[in-house]
Structure formats: structure tokens, C-alpha cells
Symmetry: C2
């Protein structure tokens, strides 16, 4: 669809814009990247490419700004090239290996690290339930007909939520309920436990079956809302980027970062696909129109973990991807 030369021009414009932060004109492209063509030729091609939706202009007679579509071409081309490792990778790995205090503080630390070295926003998420083996379920009576439900997952992740029962529960009733749920849940992921417990009535004891089902329903709604635990590190970093000097853009990004749900959705997609994902500008939802998000999955003892970087459209995709991959790698070693 694109000629060889058109492709080169798109890549050059994107590259130059990422490098310098300023829209590239035909002269620059001709001098720096396509010495064989005169500026006038480039101009004609650029004009065509603008019609095709790869470039936009701030005003008649400014250089060309790449659109999301151009970035997409650029990123795809990066992905095909053999990736070289970043020199700083080793330092990062050392830093991560020296931390070993449980998955949650580790991930929180990693997001801050990612944010610091890239100057973008570091993101990490771990699936708190759906596909991770359950290690223990426990009820702590809170008085009256409510109790605290604790679920410990295999990697050491703890999920807790308040549940209420149709009637007051004595502590030993709760213990018995926990024992029954444990006998089913142990070593199984939630997705299985849910269906098994739903049919628990076959076991006989009507009373507990009923309680189990009600509890399961409450757990389920709570967990659907918080299926991923999301960590964010270094949101302040993007303030220093020239791309976010505009307060309105900042506001959009920050409001997204406070909406755990939206982030969880993006993470979910990456986790199920199991491959790196780069979503650029308009490919994202509303608030992230001006941003790109790079996400890489990490395989950690059965838990779905995802690391990511949120940066401006003109983020350094090549470096971001390298860093994320090497951090994900050392995370996998650590867990």
C-alpha cells in the first residue's frame, strides 16, 4: 500500500519528531534522511501522505506532525527489527534482584523504578484472582452478621473483602464454613472454585450450601471489581515532559490514573493475549488520546502480571520496550 519511499518518509518524520520534539519539514527530512531526494519531492510525497492520514499540520506552513497511524507504522517497524539490549538493563536487574519483600512491595518498587529511569509513568498490575491458585480462605468475624473474608493466593497476594450473611454467625459456624470452602478451593483457581461451589448443594448439608452460594456471590462481585491490583509509580514525571505542559492533557491523564477500572481493562487485554502490546494515541480510550501505553506480560508462578509504561505519543518506544522487557525478565527471576 505504501511505496518503499513513502515508508521511509513516514519513519523519518516520526523518528525526527521523537528525537527533537518539533515537527519535521521537507528540507530537514531531505538533508538528514533521504539525501537522494530533493525537498520538493519530499513535499509532494508528504502532501500525499497527509491525505492518507499519516500526518497532520498545526497550520498551513508548519512542518508535519505524525498521527497515531504514523506512529503505528513506526512501532511495527521497530518490532520487526532485531532488538538490541539497553546498556542500563543490568543496573535495573541488579536493583530489582536486591529487593525481596513480597510481590506487592516489589511491584510498587518496580513501578517507581520504571518511572524514574524513563521519565514516564510506570504501571504494574497483577491479577488478584481469576487464574491464580488459592492457598487459603479465612473468615474473621466482625460482629453481627458481617465478617471479613481473606483469600490468600499462591504468590502471596492477599485479597480481602467484607461479606454479610443473612443471619448472625457464630465464630465456629464461620470456621466450619471456611473449612468447607477451603476443602474445595485449595490449589484451584477462582474460576474453577466458583462453578464447583455453585453446585455445592449436592454435598448434602443444605444450610452450608446456601451460605456458600451467598458468600460466593459476594466474593464474585467484589472480585470482578478488583480483579487486578494496579500499581502506579512516578506520575509526577510526566510533568516535566514538554508534551504535557498543557494542563488539560495532564488532567485527562491523571483522571485516568485514578480510575483503576479503566487501567485494569487495558491490562486484562494484554494479559490474556500474552504478548507485548503498544497502544498509540487514538487507539486508546478518550482520556489517553495524547498518550501511548506499552504493556508487557510477565509470567510469574501462575499469576498474571503485567508491566507497562505510559508516556506521550512521541515517547521513545524503542527504549521503553527494551527496558520493560528486561525488567519483566528480572521480575520473573525474582518470583
Amino acid at each position: 500500500m505504501l511505496t518503499e519511499r513513502q515508508l521511509e518518509i513516514v519513519l523519518a518524520v516520526v523518528y525526527e519528531y521523537i528525537r527533537s520534539g518539533e515537527p519535521a519539514g521537507s528540507r530537514t527530512i531531505s538533508k538528514k534522511y533521504l539525501r537522494g531526494c530533493s525537498p520538493a519531492t519530499i513535499r509532494n510525497e508528504m502532501s500525499d501522505l497527509e491525505e492518507l492520514g499519516f500526518f497532520s499540520q498545526l497550520h498551513m506552513s508548519s512542518g508535519r506532525l505524525p498521527t497515531s497511524r504514523a506512529y503505528r507504522v513506526y512501532v511495527d517497524s521497530i518490532m520487526q527489527r532485531k532488538r538490541q539490549d539497553v546498556s542500563e538493563a543490568d543496573i535495573l536487574k541488579g536493583d530489582i534482584r536486591s529487593q525481596k519483600v513480597g510481590i506487592e512491595s516489589l511491584l510498587s518498587h518496580v513501578t517507581q523504578l520504571l518511572g524514574r529511569v524513563t521519565n514516564y509513568v510506570g504501571v504494574a498490575a497483577v491479577s488478584s484472582l481469576e487464574n491464580t491458585e488459592i492457598q487459603k480462605v479465612n473468615f474473621i468475624p466482625l460482629g453481627g452478621s458481617t465478617a471479613l473474608l481473606l483469600i490468600v493466593l499462591k504468590g502471596g497476594l492477599v485479597h480481602h473483602t467484607n461479606v454479610s450473611f443473612p443471619c448472625d454467625m457464630r465464630p465456629d459456624t464461620l470456621d466450619e464454613l471456611a473449612r468447607r470452602i477451603n476443602s474445595v478451593a485449595l490449589g484451584r483457581p477462582w474460576s474453577q472454585v466458583r462453578t464447583i461451589l455453585h453446585d455445592y448443594v449436592v454435598e448434602g448439608l443444605e444450610h452450608y450450601s446456601e451460605l456458600c452460594r451467598s458468600t460466593i456471590a459476594q466474593m464474585d462481585t467484589s472480585l470482578r471489581e478488583h480483579n487486578y491490583r494496579v500499581f502506579i509509580g512516578g506520575a509526577k514525571n510526566i510533568l516535566s515532559l514538554p508534551d504535557f505542559q498543557d494542563i488539560a492533557k495532564l488532567q485527562a491523564v491523571l483522571s485516568l490514573l485514578e480510575e483503576e477500572k479503566a487501567l485494569a481493562d487495558m491490562v486484562e487485554k494484554c494479559a490474556v493475549s500474552g504478548t507485548m502490546s503498544v497502544t498509540i494515541g487514538e487507539e486508546n480510550q478518550e482520556e489517553l488520546r495524547e498518550c501511548s501505553m506499552v504493556l508487557v506480560p510477565a509470567v510469574t508462578s501462575g499469576q498474571r502480571t503485567v508491566l507497562g509504561l505510559l508516556g506521550p505519543l512521541r515517547m521513545d518506544y524503542e527504549r521503553s520496550i527494551s527496558i520493560l522487557e528486561s525488567v519483566a525478565e528480572s521480575l520473573e527471576e525474582s518470583l
Copy 2:
């Protein structure tokens, strides 16, 4: 120290600045607040007050900006006046009462609510340990010589941390250890448990005494770092305030919000004093030079809870205080 008239002028300048966002000049003050005095008189007084450190000028011949010192006088004067309730208080109370899903999500919801109605940053913190009765202690083996330590506090707050032992532990050894710690800890706050378990050796069984002490030490360091669980809501709000159009200021605030430790320190002071605290501009640490923080303690079944608002120097102290107090009140009812 200040004459009656000087005090009036200070209050008027602060009030006018909070209201309009622009430095007030002598003419305005004379016309709006001190009709009895001519602008010239006000000028002379203002000049004196500037020397005394209550005002500063952006440039020779701009109106006077109140300094932290002037805000302090203003806030002290507000506190003495009888406080009238805000009309929106009822709505807030209704909103809070309708939520009842455990302390953590409640606080998280409250911070967002505070942020939304005031356009400042809502803050909430709850002391996770030191002075709250412990309800249950539990170990979950994580394989090898490490385990997950779960501590459930009276209000339903869960604290968990990874602990490691000098040797591999069998699950039943861990259970026995938990049983022993529970027998001491149940119904007591951590501050007591710490000293009791430290002397646990008298009980006899050397092995467990040693394990207890080692565990205690690890819990202690972990808890010293995370003694308060801090919630933040609506950081995006301050972006729309004219006071934070300057990116540098924003950066300072955001970097503080990411530092849980610093916030915890402020909260701690408020919690132990048990009274409302307003810290203004320079009274705060470095990053908050341009901000004020209002904190109110809430008494919730033995747990130290603190609610707060972080806003610009010229925040509406009167309204902020009223809102915080009524929210704190309904929080106390809810728990």
C-alpha cells in the same frame, strides 16, 4: 502586638485574596472593608504590616499578597468564631451513610468525595497498628523459610507482610507459632504485644520464644514503615486551580503525594494531638511551601483515623474545615 485596625486589615486582605485570587490594594480594602479609613491610611498601615512580615509584593506597585503569617492570623480568627454548618453537609452525610463495605473502601470513597466537592486533594489515613486491638494473627506458608504474616485489626483492617525464618518451617510449626502469638496478642494493641512478646522467654519453650522474638522484630520494622495506611483522592482536581498553573508547583505537590512516609508523619502529629490542625505554607515541609493542609481526627472504634484536605495557600479554610468536620462526624457514625 497588632492594633485592632491592623488586625482588620490583615483579615480583609486575606479574605479578599481568597475570594478574588488577586492581590488587594489599599483602595479596595478601604472601599470594601474599612470605609472609615482613607486609602492613604490603609497604605501606611500596609507598609508597616509588610515590614512585620504579613504581606509581600510581587513587584513595587502591585497589591499586597498575604504571607503564611497572615493566613495564620486569618485561620486563628476563623477558629474562634462560632462555626456555622455548611448546607451541603447533609448531602455528604447521606452519601457516606449509603456506603458500607469495610473501612478501606469507605476511606477511599471518602477521599474522592472530599476531592470532588472541594476541588482540593482529599486525604485519609488510618493507623494500621500501633494503637488498635489485634483480632487475629495468622501465618500462611510461602515455601522454604518464608511465610506471609497476616494481622487483622479490630476495625477490619488487614495488614500483611512477608517474614522469613532462620530455618525452614513446617506448616504445623507455623500454626503453633501463630497460636502462641494469638494467645498473647488477642484484644491487645501492638504497642503492648511488642513488649510482652519480647519477654516471652519466661514461658519456657526456648525454640518458640526465639522464633517469636525474631518474628516480632520483622513485624516491627515492617509496621514502622507502614504504620498508617494513606488514601488520596482527586489529585487531578488541583490542576484546575489557578494557583497551580505553574508546573513546578504541581511537581512538588505530586512528589509529596507519592511519598507515603511524609504524609504519614503529618497525619501522626494530628492523630496524637487529637485536635484539628491547619498547617499553612511555610509551616509545612519543603514540597508543600505553596499549599495548606487541614487535618481533622476522627474517633472510630479505637482506630486512629484522620481526614484531610490539601489545597492551595488561598484555599477556602472556612468551608474546608466545615466539610471535614461533618464528614468526620458521619464517618464516626458509619464505623
